[in-house]
């Protein structure tokens, strides 16, 4: 197709005009919104392309390590396949006088590229199994954990601390809403359930997520690495307020956590 034929030119111009109009619409759209937008909240941290949220957990590095391992494998496959695709498109483009190569395939290649992925994927699977069991099998959870009970309900997190005796269901339990205080350098065990519909307890900066299901107690654990303030989000659609089912997490030294619980309890 040459761009110069007179028959084509008006159509090309129309196509160009359409593309420009489409792009302009897209670019103009935010302007309409900005006109009425309240000033955006200042970004609390600088963000670079492809960043994970800050990692406050001890297992986060291992999780990201596994991610990186998969990224190397899939990245290699990606560049290999897409590269070959583009190369073949250029190399084997239709050219006058050149006929396609008649072939129905190659048995050895077929077997090779069937077995290779099986091996790679099974290795990836096996590598993942160990960390997964440590994260989710409650028989393998650390024994001396700081334990809280969290109940999801529309659209808040009910948080129950056992108090000084370390037991739930006793006088000194303290219950609060959307205010989770946990220690660092000590495993934290979260016993989850929900009151109404399914929610999902997600701590992005602590790299944990577990659904909270009515009628079921699920558990998750993590160990924070430093003092910080972070957030709980809900990751399972739970109704019209799903997006604002947000809680705060304060990570501080264990004595401070216990102290905070006691003070709050006394203020009740």
């Amino acid at each position: 197709m040459t761009l110069g034929t007179p028959r084509l030119r008006p159509r090309l111009a129309l196509a160009l005009a359409f593309s420009i109009a489409a792009v302009l619409t897209a670019v103009a759209a935010p302007a309409f919104a900005d006109a009425t937008a309240p000033a955006a909240a200042p970004a609390p941290r600088t963000y670079r392309f492809g960043d994970w949220p800050p990692d406050l957990s001890k297992h986060g590095a291992e999780l990201q390590g596994l991610y990186d391992k998969i990224l190397y494998v899939t990245g290699a496959v990606f560049f290999l396949t897409e590269g070959l695709l583009l190369f073949f498109l250029w190399k084997y483009r239709a050219q006058p006088g050149k006929r396609a190569h008649y072939s129905h395939g190659h048995m050895g290649l077929e077997v090779g590229w069937t077995l290779l992925p099986v091996v790679i994927f099974v290795v990836l699977g096996v590598t993942s199994a160990d960390m997964w069991a440590r994260m989710k099998d409650r028989n393998l959870f650390p024994k001396d954990a700081f334990t809280v009970k969290v109940t999801g309900r529309q659209f808040e997190w009910l948080i129950r601390y056992p108090g000084k005796d370390g037991l739930f269901g006793t006088e000194d339990d303290y219950e609060t809403i959307n205010d989770l205080h946990v220690p660092y350098d000590k495993p934290v065990r979260v016993r989850l359930t929900a009151q109404d519909v399914i929610h999902s307890f997600f701590l992005p900066e602590l790299r944990v997520k577990q659904d909270a299901v009515p009628g079921l107690e699920t558990e998750i654990w993590f160990e924070a690495s430093r003092a910080a303030k972070t957030e709980i989000a809900c990751a399972e659609l739970c109704g019209l307020g799903h997006y604002r089912m947000r809680g705060s997490v304060t990570i501080e030294p264990l004595p401070q956590v216990l102290n905070w619980i006691q003070t709050e309890k006394e203020d009740e």
Binding site: F32, I70, V77, T81, S103, G125, V197, P214, R246
Partner: protein
Amino acid sequence: MESAPNGHGHDHGHGEDHIHPPPSNFLTKYVFSTDHKVIAVQFFCMGFTMFLVGGLFALLLRWQIAFPFQPLPFGLGKVIYASAPGNTMPPESYPTLVTMHGTVMVFFVIIPLLTGAFGNYLIPLKIGARDMAFPLLNMLSYWVAVPAGILIIMAFLTEAGGPGAGWTSYPPLSALPQASPGSGTGQTLWLLSIFCVGWSSIMGGINYLTTIINLRAPGMSLTRMPLSVWALFITSVLQVLATPVLAAASILLLFDKLLGTSFFLPAGVNVGGQAIAQAGGGNPLLFQHLFWFYSHPAVYILVLPAMGLVSDIIPTFTRKPIFGYKAMAYSMAAIAGLGFIVWGHHMFQAGMNPYVATSFMVATMVIATPSSVKVFNWLGSLYGGSIRFTTPMLCCLAFVSMFIIGGLSGVFLAATPVDIFFHDTYYVVAHIHYVVFGGSVFGIFAGLYYWFPKVTGRKMSEFWGKVHFWLSFISFNGVFFPMHILGIGGMMRRIADPTIYQHLAPLQSWNVYITMFAVVLGFSQFIVIANIAVSLLRGERVGENPWEATTLEWTTASPPPYYNYLQIPTVHHPPYEFSVPGMESDYIVQSAPPRSA
């Protein structure tokens, strides 16, 4: 079968082959038609209309995510959110739009377009049959899908609010009107609609299986079937085996909603301080198991037929046989088989026993193998070819390259520990859209451009086809690639306002960027509509075989007559005989006389 009007199935294999005259009545010819070609066009029109509806929902969602609770541009809010205060999106509309976008795109766009439209049109023509085995059943499968479409729109327009529990509709949210305004009448209509669409799907599947097994032309052995027919055959098996489970799930949920049963409601459920009297003894995870037992195979129902279409089109434009025909067919069968034992990977974080999750992870890793075999075979099909870059070919290449990305991103999600972070984030949204939009929708576009001349006797404009392709391809990647970045950033799915979270606020510019491309992607689809409309009236007229292809449908007139073939063809060749050495012509149609030995 005697009772089926215009049934041709009984003619076949009984020696005598007579042709019925086409119906002359407008109603039986165009509306209540039993002709597979008319039914295919009906499915196409319904699917494509719904594609625009689902796309509109997506744009409203995108606007909300990029500019939370701000008025729509050009005063559109006054029309769309007319009754809402400030004419901006009310918070209960967001989950409803999320639900409707997913439901419409899965059940009313991709499945009807791939199996309803392409399946119906191509199966009889490609195997050399006059019609489906059960033409009346075929008509019914369309006329059950129509009320399903009406029901889903009614669900959306329900006064109390449309269904808002996601396309997955997990109870208790979907079961209790107290928990979500859309979980009353809206959700009930949704369930009825899904029940009907599933019914339509089962009827279609049974018909396709019977047709492919019984009505193949003489010489059309299983290993001479075009891969699109293989794909549709395997898809039909999935439809017939998996859809009844969805029907069961939706009926049980309907019972919970209407009859006061408690299949999915455990004791003690309490919404806003109000105890739910009927609750007790049920388990919400049971619904998830039933739902995904259908809906994971359904993901393959969404993509297998597109793989078949693409495998049919690529040889035509590389002018060489498909690489590894048998491996292509086996790998599709393997995908379908393994597809039944991976559903639990949707539930890794749901509270299953972690070791059950591990076994689902391994099965999921294994299912990646047949998919990669297919990709390698498509690459092998390009190797040594003589590639013609027509619009349908470009769409096929988009399918292959985007399916690679969608497949690879699935590996991260399959690894259970990584999924702890990625589950229910935008990484999942990116993954599903690379497979279903980058894959299936581009496969549908490829099929549309490729078979349009057969259906109408006229070619679509190549030029406008390419404009549509490039705009869609670029803006598709502009929309969905950054969603991986959002996933890594920890952005949850289905949230109406990401800016209130400290870990998401810095990512907000990505959301604005995605929305811009979504607008371009949405409006690009008007080009293909205009192209269809103009080409119907003024497109270049073509003969039987404009693409110089080899399969049987290209041996009959364009458009094919009512009876498809005046004489049932006899098949002598495999499906993709291109560039056979020693032949002058570079293709041999399947029904060409055998070459002298």
